[in-house]
């Protein structure tokens, strides 16, 4: 199935309670698939086409505030519109799942694949100090798998989780293993598991309030300190990455999503020439595999960040490496996918042959 369809099927099977979205290329198949599948009949899941991405994200806020498993999906311009609402969700500590099938920007840009929303995704994106848990799938199977994983992490940390995909993986077709249907939680189960959820104030119990408003600065600072502690815990526990042929590598590519698929081919081409090249693929873009990269920097002669953007993740790699080895960036922009040959060539030019 297509990557976008895998996300939609995964949502139903993960016991998602509600999907709220607005059509935008290249991810409209997600809502189309959901509508065609009649999830209301399969599991009772609500699917609603909202009037805008602004409405969608605020619907997520409302649904997540009730302790429900809710998600939305969009592509770059739509995600920009959602940033205020995402900040509110982070501030009110609401778990929800976001999917960004990235296209080229800035502005209306192009509908072709891109990774130029890296900064927006891993640095928070909206106003205030917050982080999203960001998962970067590199296959249709991971598009599927990261839906239940995203929900799990979102609820574990009471924080929005984001699947950062791109138009290539969204549109690509591959075989997928599907999980068994997970039942949706009943209201009673939600009440039991998530006492903060607004399901109606019960007699003799404290009321539940979902808010991100703390007018007193002393209280607001405490909330921020609590959020930061949560993020540190997330950094300690949730870093995920894949290391391919890094053991003997003199040089490594660092790449996520579509770019990492291209790099796998470039490694083969390089090794055919006798160049010992490996790949470090961050799966969680936040929390970022900084320690792994820091350790690898002592072993290799250089790292090349391959991104379909002007050089965003390379900044985080440099922060992780702290100057221990050379780190450069190569990328194509505006919806162009680099070829394995030009990626290898960039490695030879910028890292191996570089002075």
């Amino acid at each position: 199935m297509k990557g976008n369809e895998a996300i939609a099927e995964a949502a139903i099977r993960a016991g998602c309670d509600g999907y709220f979205g607005y059509p935008i290329t290249p991810q409209s198949e997600i809502m189309e698939y959901l509508m065609a599948e009649k999830p209301h009949e399969r599991t009772g899941m609500v699917v609603l086409q909202a009037e805008s991405e602004v409405a969608s994200i605020n619907m997520l806020y409302g649904g997540a505030g009730c302790g429900k498993k809710v998600m939305t999906s969009s592509s770059s311009p739509g995600m920009s519109l959602m940033q205020e609402g995402i900040s509110y969700c982070a501030g009110a500590e609401l778990p929800c799942l976001l999917v960004n099938v990235v296209r080229g920007g800035p502005g209306l840009g192009t509908i072709q694949p891109s990774q130029a929303d890296y900064f927006q995704s891993v640095k928070g994106g909206g106003h205030g100090d917050y982080k999203l848990i960001v998962l970067a799938p590199a296959s249709v199977q991971e598009m599927y798998d990261f839906v239940p994983l995203g929900f799990e992490l979102a609820f574990k940390y009471r924080n929005p989780a984001l699947i950062l995909s791109d138009g290539a993986i969204g549109q690509m077709m591959e075989k997928v293993w599907l999980d068994e249907q997970v039942p949706r939680l009943t209201n009673e189960e939600v009440r039991e598991k998530y006492p903060w959820a607004t399901l109606g104030k019960q007699p003799g119990k404290e009321k539940s309030v979902v808010t991100s408003l703390y007018l007193e600065s002393v209280v607001m600072e405490k909330i921020n300190i609590k959020l930061q502690a949560k993020y540190r815990e997330c950094e300690a526990n949730e870093v995920r990455y894949e290391a391919i042929q890094c053991e003997d590598a003199d040089y490594i590519f660092v790449a996520f999503g579509s770019s990492s698929r291209i790099c796998q081919k470039s490694i083969q081409l390089g090794r055919d020439k006798g160049l010992k090249i490996g790949l470090l693929r961050p799966i969680t873009l936040w929390p970022f595999p900084s320690k792994v990269l820091h350790d690898l920097a002592g072993q290799v002669k250089g790292m090349l960040s391959i991104e379909m953007n002007a050089g965003q993740m390379v900044e985080d790699i440099r922060l992780a490496v702290e100057g221990k080895c050379k780190v450069e960036h190569f990328g194509r922009q505006g919806g162009i996918i680099p070829s394995p040959d030009e990626v290898l060539h960039a490695m030879e030019e910028k890292i191996i042959g570089g002075k």
């Binding site: 609603l48 409405a55 104030k201």
Partner: protein, 259 residues
């Protein structure tokens, strides 16, 4: 006639009024003389009388009533500016056997949240929307609202609203009444005991309608903003009668359910 002592007054048989237990004892953040407190009380009384406190979820806006969730003894969510109808939509869709209401001011509902308001009403979301219209942005210090009357002064229309350059006041309530999704639309006030009784009847109906699952119920409450209008409470109520009511006519605007 014997006079009642303080102790006598407190006896249950002598009580003529009690505060609804759906409002707590927290001091309201509203200016003395403002209509918000009365509007809160009406909603709280209706919820108590209907016995739906444990099944009601309220959505507070951004504006003077941003802290509404502190005063109602209800499960509440505080929405981003203008987005309460979207938040309420999802809550109701996911909890269809619950009662959901939004409480918004004119800046929230009729300016930044116009799209969410119209689309929630047009989809016929089975929720109750309460719209407080005082013709001004109260919380941010008295700026021009979408509902500010022509010629009316505010901090961003210090010489009066010039409709040629600042546009016309928006009658949101008449607008949503045109939409097929609304089943009940009314405009009331809370500045006199008689107005309060009429308004409460409308709010009750707007909540009862949720049992029918047929569409959106929308009640506008035209209210004073004595601070923003720079008047005493009494002056502001008189000004409201003389200026707001002729433009924002009170009454039942749409009722597809019947009495």
């Amino acid at each position: 006639m014997s006079e009642l002592s303080t102790l006598d007054i407190q006896k249950p048989e002598n009580l003529v009024y009690t505060k609804t237990n759906v409002l707590n004892d927290r001091t309201l953040s509203y200016c003395p003389g403002c209509g918000h407190g009365t509007a809160h009380r009406i909603i709280a009384e209706v919820i108590e009388e209907m016995g739906i406190q444990d099944k009601t979820i309220g959505v507070a806006p951004v504006g003077c009533s941003v802290l509404a969730y502190q005063f109602f003894d209800l499960d509440m969510q505080q929405a981003a500016h203008g987005r309460a109808p979207a938040v309420g939509t999802a809550i109701k869709r996911l909890l269809p056997d619950h009662f959901v209401f939004t409480y918004q001011g004119d800046g929230d509902l009729a300016a930044i949240g116009t799209a969410e308001t119209i689309h929630a009403c047009n989809r016929g979301e089975n929720i109750t929307m309460i719209f407080i219209n005082n013709g001004i942005y109260g919380m941010t210090g008295g700026q021009m609202a979408p509902t500010t009357l022509p010629g009316m002064k505010s901090s961003t229309s210090p010489y009066g609203r010039d409709v040629a350059t600042m546009g016309n006041p928006l009658k949101m309530t008449e607008l949503v009444a045109q939409l097929p999704g609304t089943i009940y639309v009314a405009r009331h006030a809370v500045h006199t005991p008689a107005a309060v009784r009429r308004c409460k009847k409308a709010v009750r109906k707007a909540f009862e309608n949720q049992k029918l699952n047929r569409g959106t119920s929308f009640v506008e409450i035209v209210s004073n903003c004595n601070s923003g209008w720079k008047m005493t409470p009494n002056q502001s109520n008189k000004w409201m009668e003389e200026n707001m009511f002729p433009f924002y006519e009170l009454g039942e605007i749409k009722d597809t359910i019947g009495k």
